[in-house]
Symmetry: C2
Subunit: 669 residues, 2 copies
């Protein structure tokens, strides 16, 4: 697909002709199945061909216009979903390709799952049908002005009043104002609000409540409810289509049965009681949400890489010495060494994301069987993957922008908006540093369990191999030896384990475990990253053990897997050397092999990004056009700027002419 044009010449045809693998086969590997390719393709075309979903002037809209445009697109998307009787899978893809953050994301992504996960069956029966039909619009109101990461510090109160059988929602301080929830500012009629539950004079900590915020008649805020948008955010367009909001309660009353009561209840008399449902059930939702975030990372990264690869194949700069044609910048080794690891990362994240989908079903099955033993591992693993993939993706998008030189700085390149809309993924659903510290805690716990003879499972199982991993020496002796997945896995395992063990030993020297953990926390972050990188590398290697059809497809993925692992080895060489996992010479061999792999990927680069199967609409970039016809498109886009409505600018008479004519009215002092 993707080729939007008809008989137009394809400026990248030469690049496509050099591919050494079957692009259709790669599409299947990327999407997960032939069916997934087909549905994605159909939904992408549906969106791209519908004028309501145009987004080419989005960065020029005022905040109000942009928000209105988002309401329009959301309603239109829903209309199409209903009219075409789309399946849930199709509807999700349609929303993905509409590619404009809005209240529906929180409605489906947070409000509905919160009720499903934390509501009783009765509550689900009452609220979900309304939500499914959009009779109500819901958001997820947790964060406050004063507290984000530390959820236990939230200040909003929900005080039970037995005289009326109601909770009184209240914002006792300025810092207790709800702040950030998407969809809250203008669109939502309801919210799941997190507040301190107080009954019988006792504070039972944070619980969720379904609260109606706006009238269903005229959308005005209910009495005692103050609502607003929290203001402009990073970038033009980008996340400004979302009404992240502020909410204050002045003693707002809700019926008792709007407390989400699956895990605990307040009785008619005001007694707080725990149900027998185990807390761990909430983990399922968390694994689900993080899995979507990792999947989103591979999407955002692959978009950026697609733009940078295609443009680098078009862009020429500097000639051969003898005045021949100029060199495509994609031929420069520096351009390759910056770009191809990002291409490899896009594939790596895609596959670890596919594995996380499997993990989610696995966790759910275990939960149903009341087997909670693997939950801490699943928690640490998903927290770490969320953190590492989103941080790396944010950096990578900006690197792709720089790889496009000056033109990458134009909104028409699509990259500024992609960056601005993506970066909050590093912060929401858990600040990335806070998450890594959780991973580190889990690692420290595992190290001490291993020392006590316990055999760890899942992604941490390698730690059971401590005897070998603490003293092994890599047998790599030639650059090509690094092509062996076992060689890669061994050094990544050894590095991760040794860093964790080092930290544990240093912590044990501190006066207390807590002090030690805090002092060592910068090192613990690095150990956590090493562990997570190992997971990603391992899952890529495991993917390659599957049957992957299509001529040349697996071979290309093997190269990308090697690039992914070896660029990390090179980037974190200090880790590998200081823990004695590799020698300086082995490090140099890895680097040498990287150079060779870049050369091998070069003729396949454009085809490898074609396999993402993105439409020009979804890419939203004049530089990333499928047909490579970049320059006329850049030129045309420029003239759309409102500043070009007149050739002599507004302000000339007042502010330029007097200056040029030496007629500024001066007040000599």
């Amino acid at each position: 697909m993707a080729a939007d044009g008809g008989g137009e010449p394809d400026h990248l045809a030469g690049e496509r002709a050099t591919a050494q693998f079957d692009v259709d086969g790669m599409k299947v590997a990327w999407a997960g199945s032939r069916h997934a390719v087909e549905v994605a393709d159909r939904m992408a075309r549906l969106v791209a061909s519908d004028p309501v979903f145009r987004k080419d002037t989005r960065t020029m809209l005022s905040r109000k216009e942009l928000f209105k445009d988002t309401l329009k697109k959301a309603a239109h998307a829903w209309k199409r979903i209903v009219e075409l009787r789309l399946t849930e899978e199709e509807a999700n893809l349609l929303r993905l390709y509409v590619d404009q953050p809005g209240y529906v994301d929180l409605h489906w992504g947070m409000f509905v799952p919160a009720i499903k996960g934390q509501g009783t069956e009765e509550q689900q029966k009452k609220w979900l049908p309304m939500a499914y039909k959009f009779q109500i619009i819901g958001c997820y109101a947790q964060t406050e002005l004063g507290h984000g990461s530390n959820v236990q510090g939230l200040e909003t109160t929900a005080t039970f009043d037995p005289s009326t059988d109601e909770f009184v929602m209240h914002s006792p301080t300025l810092t207790s104002s709800k702040w950030w929830p998407g969809g809250l500012g203008k669109a939502s009629t309801h919210a799941v609000v997190y507040a301190r539950l107080i009954t019988e004079g006792k504070d039972y900590g944070i619980h969720g409540f379904i609260v109606q915020l706006r009238s269903l008649d005229d959308h005005s805020p209910l009495p005692g409810v103050t609502l607003g948008d929290i203001g402009g955010k990073f970038g033009s367009g980008a996340y400004n289509s979302m009404d992240n909001g502020v909410l204050r309660f002045d003693h707002v009353r809700i019926p008792r049965d709007q407390m989400l009561m699956r895990l605990s209840q307040v009785t008619r008399e005001g007694k707080y009681v725990h149900s027998d449902v185990p807390k761990q059930l909430l983990y399922g939702t968390m694994v689900y949400v993080r899995q979507t975030i990792v999947a989103d990372a591979s999407k955002a990264l692959s978009r950026a890489v697609c733009i940078a690869v295609r443009y680098s194949a078009i862009r020429k700069q500097f000639g051969s010495q003898d005045g021949g044609p100029e060199t495509q910048v994609l031929n420069y080794k520096t351009q390759q060494s910056r770009l191809f690891p990002l291409l490899a990362s896009a594939y790596a994240y895609r596959f670890v994301g596919q594995w996380l989908k499997w993990l989610y079903t696995d966790v759910n099955q275990k939960l149903e069987a009341k087997d909670y033993s693997t939950l801490p591992e699943a928690h640490a693993c998903t927290a770490g993957l969320k953190s590492v993939t989103t941080s790396a993706t944010a950096d990578a998008i900006e690197e792709c922008r720089k790889l496009c030189g000056g033109h990458g700085y134009l909104n028409s390149s699509g990259l500024p908006e992609l960056f601005a809309v993506y970066v909050p993924a590093c912060t929401y659903e858990g600040d990335n540093v806070v998450l890594l510290l959780q991973v580190a805690r889990f690692l420290m716990k595992t190290v001490s369990q291993v020392a006590a003879g316990k055999q760890p499972v899942g992604t941490i199982a390698y730690m059971g191999n401590i005897q070998h991993l603490m003293q092994c020496k890599s047998a790599v002796n030639t650059a090509e030896d690094w092509l062996n997945p076992a060689a890669i896995k061994e050094v990544f395992e050894a590095r991760a384990l040794r860093m964790a063990v080092n930290c544990a030993q240093n912590i044990s020297k501190a006066p207390s475990q807590e002090e030690g953990f805090s002092e060592l926390s910068p090192d613990l972050l690095e150990a956590a990253v090493a562990h997570v990188q190992l997971i990603i590398v391992t899952k890529f290697i495991e993917k390659l053990q599957e049957d992957i059809p299509g001529p040349g497809v697996k071979e290309q993925l093997q190269k990308l897997c090697s690039i992914y692992a070896l660029h990390l080895l090179h980037k974190h060489l200090g880790d590998f050397l200081s823990t004695g996992c590799v020698t300086a010479r082995q490090g140099a061999l890895a680097n040498e092999l990287l150079g060779k792999l870049y050369a091998q990927v070069r003729p396949n680069a454009v085809a490898l990004v074609d396999a993402f199967d993105y439409t020009d609409h979804y890419l939203g970039s004049v530089l990333g056009r499928y047909d490579g016809d970049v320059y006329p498109a850049l030129y045309e886009e420029a003239w759309k700027d409102p500043l070009n409505e007149t050739v002599v600018p507004d302000g000339y008479q007042e502010h330029l002419r007097p200056l040029l004519k030496q007629q500024l009215k001066l007040s000599r002092l």
Copy 2:
């Protein structure tokens, strides 16, 4: 200064009380002299107190409003400069604190210097007085749609026509359109245009020409001249205040004497002749421009760090185990390990910038004395410093934004705009990778000269010490040994030299020097970075050998210098280990010392950013407020968003109500 409020409580007073040094003394060290502090302070207050220079709603303006606002501010600034008879130093500072990119930047920063550097005395006499009085507004039109880095590839032609004694300026292709010049789109009346000079049928390559673009009567483009803005750029506000422009010529004629003729001329008959002025004279301008870019890096970085440090001292998240007050996030070791190296970098860049000012006068003196021997070294050094400081600053601003958690994503934090306006510094005035490759070429040349027994000078002099540096082993044996500047310098020199020598050896194995250079270019980038980091470390150490008055001032700077160097050692540990400059144990000791230094800097952190002496106006951040009263300010800013003009949003009737009321008009298919 900076404290804008009157008797308001200072929420950071406690932090300021713990400082162990004289903040006024530090202000002098930062600004360069007591005089510099005083002037900067006066100009900053002048701008901050003038309502025309308000910028708090800048990110909410439409492109047209923003551009008009920029014209207004520029005219008003000029009015104040004339009225108050400001000196050049004062005027430059005033423009700095106005803090809004606009045509004046290019007029003063590129157009005037180009005429000064490349114009004959006659040409200077004719054009400069008009420019100085703003009778004309000029820009610098070099880059084209198709060519940026490769200036020799520009396509615009200037063909001499002896029949009329004129040059004919022409844009033969779409890609030859001038593209990017700031001030070109809407404001400039003139430009220095770079074009291929063609005379007597021969192409003499790229030369500069002064070209009038617009009528001085009504500002309309002259016949044959197409002008426009190239469209929206990264971010809201940010660089969108600038009219980066597109320019096409359709056979536009200019008098012959508007070719910039200092270095070469075309005679009345059309003969191309070189003057006896040596080409190297152009280097002076280049060193000047790059020096200002390094100075700008320290400004942008220090602003971001100031915001992040102050907010991290206010922001609390998570409590002590026993329910006591929550912890300031600045107390977390991870926050410190991410933030304090950036604080140290701000100081490091400031001092290397001050040294570059000296280098500029030194280069000029040598040029006048016709001593061109040190020019290649000055060229490589400034290219490298431009590249390394701007890349690191761009990354650092984004890290500071992340250090502020969710609130850093709001425009009111100031950080999104600071990032968006700053990042093009990595691209303009030389793409950072292209510049590093130039440094690398110089390094390779120096290595071979050293091998031939030549003694290198200036920042590369250390390479003369090759005997020692190739085999020395660091004597560091305790963490505190790393406090010794000589110990630091030795390992940084050894690392830089060994990486360069490694590259040179690997290149020599290639079939040709060119092929080798190209194959090795990713490694060469790393070698170049190592060399430039050494320069910055060395200049910081040299600064500390000066007399620095004020109790405790030098002690603080010594700590920051150690942090700057050791965080680099830790970050690039792979370089140091693989070249055998330090052992794994020495690396661990450096890391241990870093942790101790962070703890020592902690009580001084807020005072160290106060020493930048920035007004709240210049910072433009509710999170970075001098008084730390963050939350009411965040709250108030939110309500200014246009989306909050109505409580029920525009679009409700059309797009929300029909959805909620199940009244979307469906067309069943």
